[in-house]
Symmetry: C2
Subunit: 340 residues, 2 copies
């Protein structure tokens, strides 16, 4: 594992990412037809529902950050090249395309502390804006990068399909859930890293290693996300307390807890079998049961193990400049210690 | 205008298209993950809801037919090349992506005489299968072709957005509707022709002319579609009689009729103002009013004029082999005389 990193390195990398990528992202969104642009700008947190400018909100830009960091790890100074920035913007557009559609599919009301786009503009229009953002993402990157991003989007759709299907089954295994998270979350983080490498013409083995690095990072990201969904501070995460449990979501810590053979696992299974949203008291009981059945500890350990695996992939890459990987390391570290 | 064409030429071109493109299309669909593949295969009419093979149904493959015909008009013998077939399959995938999503958005129950995919597999899954098909389409064509297809998909999303918005307004003009049809239908037929040219490395002016040719063809297609929606034989079109009128759809003949200043236009406006689906008697009255207000005659004349404009674009293209345009002419002619 890498040496301990100074605090704030990942934040600085993501800050630089925002400065470099947001103008490219805004310019791309500005090429969308009027109404679809309005929906996209609202979704990104740049405008309110009336189209007035809003500042200071929007995503973490973690995925574009990975593109830039991966390009830096391979190509050194070429990061400010337009192919790198185009790839970074494309990955963020593809990510937000999935968010727009997933919110419609899951009927989620809130994202980043604001009403979701479909609740403001209608489900139909949110679907169309998502479609247009996907097309825009693929237009930004030509040839092999577009093909790779398209392949990744298909994998994400497959993961989201499984996610919907799993909610209807009561015999989902932990392995199935891990594979699903690999598609839903891992694929795009892997693609982000691979696209960074491709944009500075890294060799195929290095691109493959970057992809595997990102995929393991994605697993750690999802595990952390699921932990925050249960034990995170709602004021920080922007999601209502206990929302994941109340909706009986089969998140990774829950499925890990359910597969334990203990009294706590049995209690959790009985709560999940109620077939309705939980009361506040039931949310507290379920939270406690996941912890006692070992779901919380397993997820935290697994996240750390995934980060270690990620670093191992990176060390095996032929043309990674080991002196230039600090941003990749910093972002990897941020993923498990974040609070939202 | 071109000399009269022997009957059956367009049918023969579309038959050759099916033989050449369907294997590529099936191979592409077979690369989708299991459940998304099942939905796509059902949508294309290759399988029933249980996944058993079905034969003999599916779309006309008009758009891939245009890709092949455009490539033939420019490049002669290179049509069997894989870039041409990949472009043809990509255009058909992009078209079917829009159908999957539009059926969800419009809550349409029937397509090609069968229950729509979302009624069989759920709206969520139909959205995801559509997303995956779009990604697959863009993966099939690299570089400039992918960029052009992506641009076209954004235009289609814009058109579909306007189509939804127009249904809520009662002051939509004929020019607005024509512009919307240009985006919803014209853009992809233009893109199909342009991609055929690109696939055999036609010069930019010729590619632009092919695009304009296809766009005018698309307008003729939409006008014919709208006429069939009112006066077509439901047994042939596969749509219930009077469905477009009953749902008070603002199709082109209707908007043309509404903009006339006559008693019939007034009657049509009063029927449309009812704010509910029509009875059988009201459908007959509305059908009659569109005809008396001149909507039917206008649409038929306009369709013929668009075909003439299309041919004019083709004649101005620098490197079209005027001896090799017979398939483009035949498909153009088929578009206005078809019955479904």
């Amino acid at each position: 594992m890498a040496a301990p990193l100074p605090k704030g390195l990942a934040e600085a990398a993501l800050h630089r990412t925002r400065d470099a990528v947001e103008p490219v992202l805004r310019a791309a969104i500005d090429t969308l037809p009027g109404r679809l642009r309005t929906i996209a700008a609202y979704h990104f947190g740049w405008e309110d529902a009336e189209g007035a400018a809003v500042d200071g909100i929007g995503g973490k830009l973690l995925r574009p950050g990975l593109v830039l960091a991966a390009a830096a790890a391979v190509g050194g100074e070429k990061v400010a090249d337009s192919p790198v920035l185009a790839a970074a913007a494309a990955v963020e557009l593809a990510h937000n395309f999935t968010l727009l559609h997933d919110d419609v599919i899951d009927r989620d009301q809130t994202r980043r502390h604001r009403p979701t786009a479909w609740t403001v503009f209608g489900a139909e229009n949110a679907i169309l804006a998502g479609d247009a953002m996907l097309a825009l993402a693929l237009r930004l990157v030509g040839g092999e990068a577009a093909s790779r991003l398209a392949e990744c989007v298909i994998e994400i759709c497959d993961g989201q399909y499984e996610d919907c299907a799993f909610e209807l089954r009561d015999d989902v295994t932990l392995d199935e859930c891990l594979a699903m998270a690999g598609k839903k979350t891992g694929a795009l983080l892997g693609c982000a890293c691979a696209l960074g490498g491709l944009a500075v013409r890294a060799d195929p083995l290095t691109v493959a290693a970057l992809d595997l690095f990102g995929r393991e990072l994605g697993m750690a990201f999802q595990l952390t996300d699921d932990l925050l969904g249960i034990w995170g501070d709602p004021a920080v995460t922007g999601k209502p307390v206990g929302a994941d449990l109340s909706a009986r979501k089969k998140s990774l810590p829950v499925v890990a807890a359910l597969s334990a053979r203990s009294a706590a696992a049995g209690e959790l299974a009985r709560l999940y079998a109620l077939g309705r949203d939980f009361t506040e008291h039931e949310v507290r009981r379920a939270t406690d049961a996941v912890e006692r059945a070992g779901g919380r500890a397993w997820a935290a350990t697994e996240a750390t193990a995934r980060i270690a695996k990620a670093h191992a992939h990176l060390r095996r890459a032929p043309s990674i400049e080991q002196t230039a990987v600090h941003d990749l390391h910093a972002i990897a570290e941020l993923i498990t210690r974040r609070s939202k």
